[in-house]
């Protein structure tokens, strides 16, 4: 039996639920693997895991938010032969990663302004927070399994990788980003590939009644589909909500925000050549008041925007 450990970092519980809902696939995995640690599912102590010489597969869920998270992630991953980053928080920092540019003290300060009373104690302490990171900032995992939560497609691929590894002792590649290597837009039920998208302008979500058949971009609504990896079967779009990019960029190392901005440059106001003059375009783009939250909702920590801002000393 191979040893499988599931380690939670800063989580909401969604990835746990997704993994636990694998059902028969999980049963198949358990024919080859013994779960040596998975807090919500099995009663195994972390101290036992720390004493083990090696772990075959380690799955890390959630983000790194404390010194302990980082230490544990590094120490345990060093013993693991295959490391899996599960979920968008683990791979890209996720939504909590929108805090990546803030120091923990700034976050605590913002919160302390909301409360009525403060109580101090020097004796009873709490663990030390760190600036928000993805698991991939402290370890270089072999398997990257994005999604918020990870989709059936990603979990199917992960299951196959784990079963193949159990049988052959090998992985197909050094770094594997799960999902399909194309943008979500390519197979969108609303946008056959033959269609040329023309975006009439930019509308915020509160300004429109969403058409349930037409491409969101053609309605003027930002949809991250063109810049997002195909990790799902379009559940949001089918439910009449634009893609918000939980799958991350199309390829590992690329930047979803920059890809989306470049898409916008080629589709925005294309049918109206006159408006293409710079002032018209700028006016439309200026409607996006929250650039980071629009283009990097799930991936700010791994973005070029983060690299630049952090270098400049972070955002106030």
């Amino acid at each position: 039996m191979l040893k499988l450990a599931v380690i939670p970092g800063g989580i909401c519980g969604g990835c746990d639920v997704a993994l636990a809902s694998l059902g028969e696939k999980l049963a198949e995995i358990l024919k080859y693997y013994e779960i040596v640690y998975w807090p919500i599912a099995v009663d195994k102590k972390l101290s036992n895991l720390m004493n083990m010489n090696h772990i075959d597969v380690l799955i890390y869920m959630g983000a790194i938010t404390t010194e302990e998270d980082a230490k544990l992630a590094k120490e345990l991953s060093a013993k693991a032969r295959v490391r899996v980053a599960l979920g968008t928080c683990s791979v890209y920092g996720g939504i909590p990663g929108l805090n990546a540019l803030y120091k923990p003290a700034d976050i605590i300060k913002t919160i302390s302004l909301l409360v009525d009373t403060k109580l101090e104690s020097s004796a009873l302490g709490l663990p030390q927070p760190v600036q928000h990171m993805a698991y991939t900032d402290v370890v270089e995992p072999e398997v990257l399994a994005p999604g918020c939560p990870p989709t059936d497609k990603v979990l199917d691929q992960l299951t196959e990788i784990l079963l193949n590894y159990a049988k052959s002792g090998k992985l197909e590649a050094r770094t594997m980003l799960l999902g399909d290597s194309e943008s979500l837009c390519n197979n969108c039920p609303r946008n056959p590939k033959t269609t040329k998208i023309a975006m009439p302008g930019i509308k915020r979500l509160y300004e429109v009644k969403l058409d349930s058949n037409k491409c969101f971009l053609e309605q003027g609504v930002l949809c991250m589909g063109p810049a997002t990896r195909a990790i799902c079967t379009h559940p949001c779009i089918k439910f009449n909500y634009p893609c918000i990019g939980c799958g991350g960029p199309v390829e590992w190392g690329s930047d979803s925000g920059l890809s989306m901005i470049s898409t916008l440059a080629s589709v925005l106001l294309v049918d109206d050549e006159k408006k293409l003059l710079e002032p018209g375009l700028a006016r439309e783009l200026n409607k996006i008041r929250d650039v980071l939250g629009t283009f990097y909702k799930y991936t700010l920590r791994k973005s070029k925007a983060y690299a630049l801002k952090n270098k400049a000393g972070g955002e106030g």
Binding site: I7, P8, G10, I11, C12, G13, G14, V17, S21, P39, I40, D43, K44, L46, T65, T66, E68, D69, G94, I95, P96, L98, N99, Y102, P104, I107, I111, V115, D116, T117, K118, L119, E120, S121, S122, A123, L124, G125, L126, Q128, C148, P149, R204, L205, Y206, K209, L210, P235, K238, F239, N240, Y241, I244, C246, R289, D290, L292, G293, T294, K297
Partner: protein
């Protein structure tokens, strides 16, 4: 408050969502058992600068268990900012999802935490695995129900968590009659599982000597303020007035305007707890005292409501109140029963909604309304009152966000409840160096009765040693933090 020394910690507390521990501390001559939440996330900070219409989906990721509740409370705050009144269809759709959320979460607690906790009282391991060996029929019904509910969520809203639903002034998609046919089938199956839970709960627990004993024990009493939503006096989970009832059953506050929540709920931030410590503001902060403690969730909701809609739920509610010896009910063991009453209520309400033709007709979104700079949304999440409060600037980006979750509110109540066990605990640690098995069981049961979800309570902060284990661990440490004994 005076500083304190750490005597012992039960670390970490398992079978609650998220990371927390019980710590025993001394402060002069006082001894207290504290419930300490140790996580840190900062959603109030990351919300700033965001387009407000993006908030419902962003904030739904506070919790993977009650993701829909966060989305709905957030959505109500956003509706208020845009001054939009929902169409009947949109309101029914949101209500439907809310009932499914509460039902799902309650069944999760009942099967994985509540029933094992009570049915295996006195045993070292009180979890679903142990229950499986003794009562496989109950456990398999629990697992099946859970997978059915997940199917239901996937059918109705595309994803089981963090999915698309709320847009300002409505929902992004209406439900069709074809989709409901499947829902009805699933509901029938869920119904039979609940009957099985009920029978088990009634025969094995309600009629047991243990249950009678627990109802008499002072450690399990909570005589604080019950808080919940009511609509025309009846139990309401999505849209009602915020009512507060004191330990004598008197209504001390009732407000239809959600913005006034801040007059009722005060919040203290303690350097030793990453969860806030809310209190009943008009009473002033009296930490660990029932005189300023608010509690929320199923038991509090049934205390503030005068009736429970739904035939079966209504009858069961009356039976509960009778066994409890009248209202307000003040024993936290009754949370489990109240949760079962609410599952019946949810099923009956779901059945009512899916038979309402208005669910399938008309617009799902409205754009009309006069916008304003602040919006507050309050819903009853499975664990109680959930508040989302946003302020925006003229381009509708968020400048301030505040979220108060039910587990945060109950954080104070849990601490108040635990303080009743402190003396006993201190005595045992002094004489035997560790708490007795009976005291540990009691501590765990008190915490579990409230069904805390610490991922939620720490939406604002998330720090924590990732040392969760599924068995309950006790660590006794001295004031320097040296480990003296481990169980």
């Amino acid at each position: 408050m005076a500083d304190f020394n750490v005597v012992a910690s039960l670390d970490p507390l398992t079978l609650v969502e998220g990371i927390a521990r019980i710590v025993v501390v001394t402060s002069g001559n006082e001894v207290r058992a504290l419930y300490q939440i140790m996580e840190f996330r900062g959603y109030e900070k990351l919300a700033i600068g965001r387009h407000v219409e993006d908030m419902p989906r962003l904030m739904s990721t506070i919790c993977g268990v009650c993701s829909w509740s966060h989305q709905l409370a957030s959505g109500k705050a956003v509706d208020a900012i845009f001054g939009r009144e929902l169409t009947t269809r949109a309101k029914l759709t949101r209500n439907l999802v809310n009932y499914i959320q509460v039902l799902d979460s309650h069944l999760l607690h009942i099967s994985f935490i509540g029933l094992p906790d009570l049915a295996l009282w006195g045993e070292a391991e009180r979890d679903i695995i142990k229950l499986m060996s003794k009562n496989p029929e109950v456990v398999s019904a629990a697992l099946k129900t859970r997978s059915l509910l997940k199917q239901l969520e996937k059918k109705l809203v595309g994803k089981i968590q963090h999915g698309p639903l709320v847009v300002p002034g409505g929902v992004c998609k209406g439900i069709t009659r074809e989709e409901i046919v499947e829902v009805e089938k699933v509901l029938q199956e869920i119904n039979s599982s609940i009957e099985l839970f009920y029978k088990f709960f009634d025969e094995r627990l309600v009629k047991s000597q243990l249950f009678k004993e627990l109802l008499q024990r002072d450690e399990f009493t909570m005589r604080g303020y019950s808080m919940g939503l009511v609509k025309e006096g009846a139990l309401e989970l999505y849209d009602g007035a915020l009512r507060v009832v004191d330990h004598k059953g008197r209504t001390v506050n009732e407000a239809g305007n959600p913005v006034t929540y801040a007059d009722v709920i005060g919040e203290a931030m303690a350097s030793w707890n990453y969860g806030m410590l809310p209190y009943y503001k008009p009473a002033g902060l009296k930490l660990f005292s029932e005189e300023s403690t608010i509690f929320v969730g199923p038991l509090a909701r049934l205390n503030v409501a005068e009736k429970v809609p739904g035939e079966k739920a209504g009858e069961e509610y009356k039976r509960l109140v009778e066994v409890a010896g009248g209202k307000p009910m003040s024993n936290v063991v009754l949370y489990h029963w109240a949760r079962l009453v609410e599952t019946l209520h949810c099923i009956e309400m779901i059945n009512e909604i899916i038979r309402n033709p208005a669910l399938f007709e008309g617009d799902v979104t409205t754009l009309a309304g006069e916008s304003r700079s602040r919006g507050v949304g309050i819903v009853e999440a499975p664990r109680g009152i959930l508040v989302h409060d946003y302020t925006v600037n003229s381009d509708f980006t968020v400048t301030k966000a505040r979220v108060i979750t039910p587990t945060t509110i109950n954080n104070t109540a849990i601490n108040t409840s635990l303080s009743k066990v402190s003396m006993q605990l201190a005595k045992e640690i002094k004489s035997a160096g560790k708490p007795s098995a009976e005291t540990v069981t009691m501590l765990e049961s008190i915490v579990r009765a409230y069904d805390p979800c610490n991922s939620c309570a720490t939406h604002c902060m998330k720090i924590g040693e990732r040392r969760i284990v599924t068995s309950f661990r006790i660590v006794v440490i001295n004031e320097k933090g040296d480990v003296l004994w481990q169980g």
